[in-house]
Amino acid sequence: MTFTTNEIWLALPEIYLTTALCVVLLFDLFFATKNPGRTATLTLLVLVVGAVLASRQVIADRQVILGGMYVADRLSSLLKTGAFLFTAMALFYSRDYLARRGIQKGEYYVLSLTALLGVLVLASAANMVTLYVGVELLSLSLYALVAFDRDSGVAAEAAMKYFVLGAIASGTLLYGMSILYGMTGTLDLGALTARLGDSPGLGFTLAIAFIVSAIAFKFGAVPFHMWVPDVYQGAPTASAMMVATVPKLASFAMAFRFLAEGLMAQTPQWSQMLAILATVSVIAGNLIAIAQTSLLRMLAYSAIANVGFILFGFVAGSGAGFSSALYYTIAYVLMTLAAFAIVLISSRDGCEATELDHFKGLHQRDPLLAGAMAAVMFSTAGVPPFVGFWAKLQIIQALLASGHLTLALIAVVASVVGAFYYLRVVWLMYFEAPAEQPPLGKAPGMRLVLAINALAVLALGIMPEQLLALCRQVIPGG
């Protein structure tokens, strides 16, 4: 196999990240034994440079390189930029939290970087093997991150659950892939459609079922959602944030590369399965979230409901649908980062602010945090002038354009049901008197980034054009 400079240039984000990862590992070993904060700083630096690098990649056309294993297109460039940026934000938000919990170790950052590498690989997967490598790289890093606080029983339990279920999901994915390989004799995602022919038969349906289940598991869609609430609640909140945010981009990439690109001609088969999963997810997620008393579990069920919306974009089965799913994913990650950041800032030593009651009267204790949280909640509920509204609007447009009126109606009614529990957070923060609780930490740097994050949720809601247009440009037919 030969490489050209062009190929190296196209795969630069991964090459850069792998190198940087080794540097961070060694740096941590030699220069940060006493002060792990240094590793954090270096990691953030690496991520920012990576984001610039990925965004600077000018990719005019879709190019499949490295012997058909790797695809570079505008979508991969956008996803990678986003992944670098969001990982940087997540790690920045986690810094104080990890230090206070005594789990700010170099390995945390290295594992986050390997997880990120998995996301990048997935974003550029053109072959089932590449895809699988990406999935496993991401998943294994996340399992370890969830279990990172080794003295915590609940974290270990959550990690165990996540790992066992995740391993089964990886197994189903492999199983589906092997059936496809058996039918077509190729692992190349680009060649699947042509070799499958017009009526692939029962074996194909079986393969699709396995693959869709695996994707649904990685997204956390009902009925493969069992791990989500437990991981959100059990894992250290910083790790939960890692699980909740950046991997959503990876799940999007996985679904897009496999289903939308690889099996485009078989859209009717998989979109029916996804339609059922998505419908059940928005209904169950929104209903169960109402019953939660823990903010993190509520966010978990909210994530399940939002994943249902993202899957609705895929159900539409058109370029417009995929681009609306992409927009939704990016908007969702942005909002979720802010929500978790608020939980992290509100957490003290010995008091994790993970219950809804911890947020009572937050407005009087800390107007900035309450304001940011209210913006995120209204946004996730889909109320203008926040970005979440455009995300939902696009999904509804895509569903209607593809003739799924019933699904669109289910989606909007479910989002009204969902509005209740988002409003409840605002109600607790603004309408209730604060309970006796220690004052909140200063964390000026984090607050600044959080303010920018929340303002972005608002600004993208008032001026949605840029991101909308970008999401449409990177997806063919969007």
């Binding site: 109320v383 509804i396 447009q397 209607l400 909007v412 009204v416 309408f431």
Partner: protein, 501 residues
């Protein structure tokens, strides 16, 4: 031609609201700044009114900028004869709301004023949007400040009331959104003019009409989806009740006139019996419900529902008038009546809620039984209250008469029985309002709380006086308002009588 006057009217209160919020604990400064902003906003309505030509249906003071090219949605705003009176009403009502809160709001003062200013801007945005997506944007965004106003400054059951308010309105609105998206996918254009002009089959029109109706009927509110209103009114602070009754309810009526009827005129013709039935139920049944209320705010809330029944009734009468008389001449009378009724009800219900607020500030009770003989201690206030109550029951010479009279007259042209039922409001309205006055204002001094009441101060006098003048002025001289609307109402009548099939 591009003008920025309307943009200024929308964004000055919004930006000003955030400035007021930034003042935080500097309460006095926040009050004065809020007052200044609301007065300047009202002053900006003067050139708007002066430069407006009511003889044409064209949108004036237009501004048209690209907003979201991806959806072909534009930031396009303008006013016609239907939007202008409502915009002026919005700017006008906000000033007394801000003055009325001067001493009675003591908790989170700056935020209180900020919420009302931001809401004012958003409401003006709703009335001036010429793009359906922009309309929806303002329409939904407006829920947020109102949600906070009821929830933070409301009464004991405020949380229940505000969540109910939000969810009811949100549920209605999402159906409208689905209808808008459905139409956009055919026109590829979100401008309201394009939606009004697009051809639709009867089947499509019916569903679209019902989707809009879901949104607007909740907002108006019409029986049987009115139950959020009494709760919201009772729990909201005085200013919240005033804005809710005076302006927010009007958005439902405005939506019917701007969207539902012109976009789906044939569905309107098919379903007008349904709308008329619901409106008459609101007028008659809710009138009886109002009669038995023990709580002053609840009573006024139910009376609002009954009065808004006239708006929805007037809005759809045109079909029956044409059916009964065979000619479109005079078909616009119902629409005229609906519009006048909206403005008049805005002033009267606002004033009634302010009156209750004045009494509540002194006695801290909204129960009718907690009062009695107020006029003995507050003669000036008593005079105002009696005037507004007379207006509320539709006494000739007050604005309440003009709107109801026009609608009843139009109903007569359409069908005698419609008119007969609608006219029962003259009895029912008088009954519940005057009985309220009898129990609260007249009679012997009810208890020691009432005995300690002091008459209105200069600030309250100013607020109630301005509203009293406008109620009487509109009652004896409604011509300027009718002139303002003439061209637009004619155009609207043509649109809803034309067929799209």
């Amino acid at each position: 031609m591009q003008t920025t006057l309307l943009s200024l009217l929308i964004w000055l209160p919004i930006v000003g609201g955030f400035l007021v919020m930034a003042l935080g604990a500097r309460v006095a400064a926040a009050r004065w700044l809020a007052l200044l902003i609301s007065v300047v906003t009202l002053a900006l309505c003067v050139p708007l009114y002066a430069g407006f030509d009511g003889s044409t249906a064209a949108f004036q003071f237009q501004q048209n900028l690209p907003w979201i090219p991806a959806f072909n949605a534009r930031y396009s705003i303008g006013v016609d004869g239907i939007a202008l009176p409502l915009i002026i009403l919005t700017a006008f009502i906000t000033v007394p709301v801000i003055i009325a809160a001067w001493t009675s709001v003591t908790k989170r003062v700056a935020q209180y004023y900020a919420a009302f200013l931001i809401m004012e801007g958003l409401m003006i945005g709703v009335f001036s949007a010429m793009d359906a997506l922009l309309f929806y944007f303002f329409w939904e965004a407006m829920l947020i400040p109102m949600f906070l106003i009821i929830g933070i400054w409301g009464g004991p059951r405020r949380i229940y009331a505000t969540i109910k308010f939000f969810l009811y309105t949100f549920l209605g609105s999402v159906f409208m959104l689905v209808a808008l998206v459905y139409m956009y996918l055919q026109t590829q254009d979100y401008s309201i003019a394009a939606l009004q002009a697009m051809p639709l089959t009867l089947e499509e029109q019916k569903w679209i009409f019902l989707a809009f109706f879901a949104a607007f009927a909740v907002k108006v509110p019409m029986w049987p989806v009115h139950t959020w209103l009494p709760d919201a009114h009772v729990e909201a602070p005085t200013g919240g009740s005033v804005v809710l009754a005076a302006i927010m309810l009007k958005m439902g009526g405005y939506g019917l006139l701007r969207f539902a009827l012109p976009i789906a005129p044939d569905a309107g013709r098919e379903l007008d019996g349904f709308v008329i039935t619901l409106s008459l139920i609101a007028v008659v049944y809710i009138g009886f419900v109002a009669l038995v209320q023990q709580d002053m705010k609840k009573l006024i809330a139910y009376s609002s529902i009954a009065h808004m029944g006239f708006v929805t009734l007037g809005a759809v009468l045109a079909y029956d008038i044409v059916g009964a008389t065979g000619s479109p001449a005079g078909a616009g009378m119902g629409l005229d009546g609906a519009m006048v009724q909206m403005i008049s009800h805005g002033l009267i219900s606002g004033a009634m809620f302010l009156c209750v607020g004045v009494m509540y500030d002194r006695v801290h009770s909204r129960e009718i039984s907690a009062y009695g003989g107020v006029i003995n201690k507050m003669p000036i206030f008593g005079a105002f209250m009696v005037l507004f109550s007379m207006a509320n029951s539709g006494l000739p010479g007050t604005s309440g008469f003009v709107g109801e009279f026009l609608v009843v007259l139009a109903a007569f042209k359409a069908n005698f029985w419609y008119a007969a039922l609608a006219a029962t409001t003259l009895i029912l309205g008088a009954a519940y309002t005057l009985w309220l006055v009898k129990r609260v204002i007249f009679g012997k001094v009810g208890n020691h709380h009432v005995a300690e009441m002091k008459d209105v101060d200069g600030r309250e006098f100013l607020v109630l006086g301005v509203l009293a003048v406008s109620v009487v002025l509109l009652g004896v001289w409604p011509a300027p308002l009718l002139d303002m609307m003439r061209g637009s109402i004619e155009h609207l009548t043509q649109m809803i009588l034309a067929t799209k099939l």
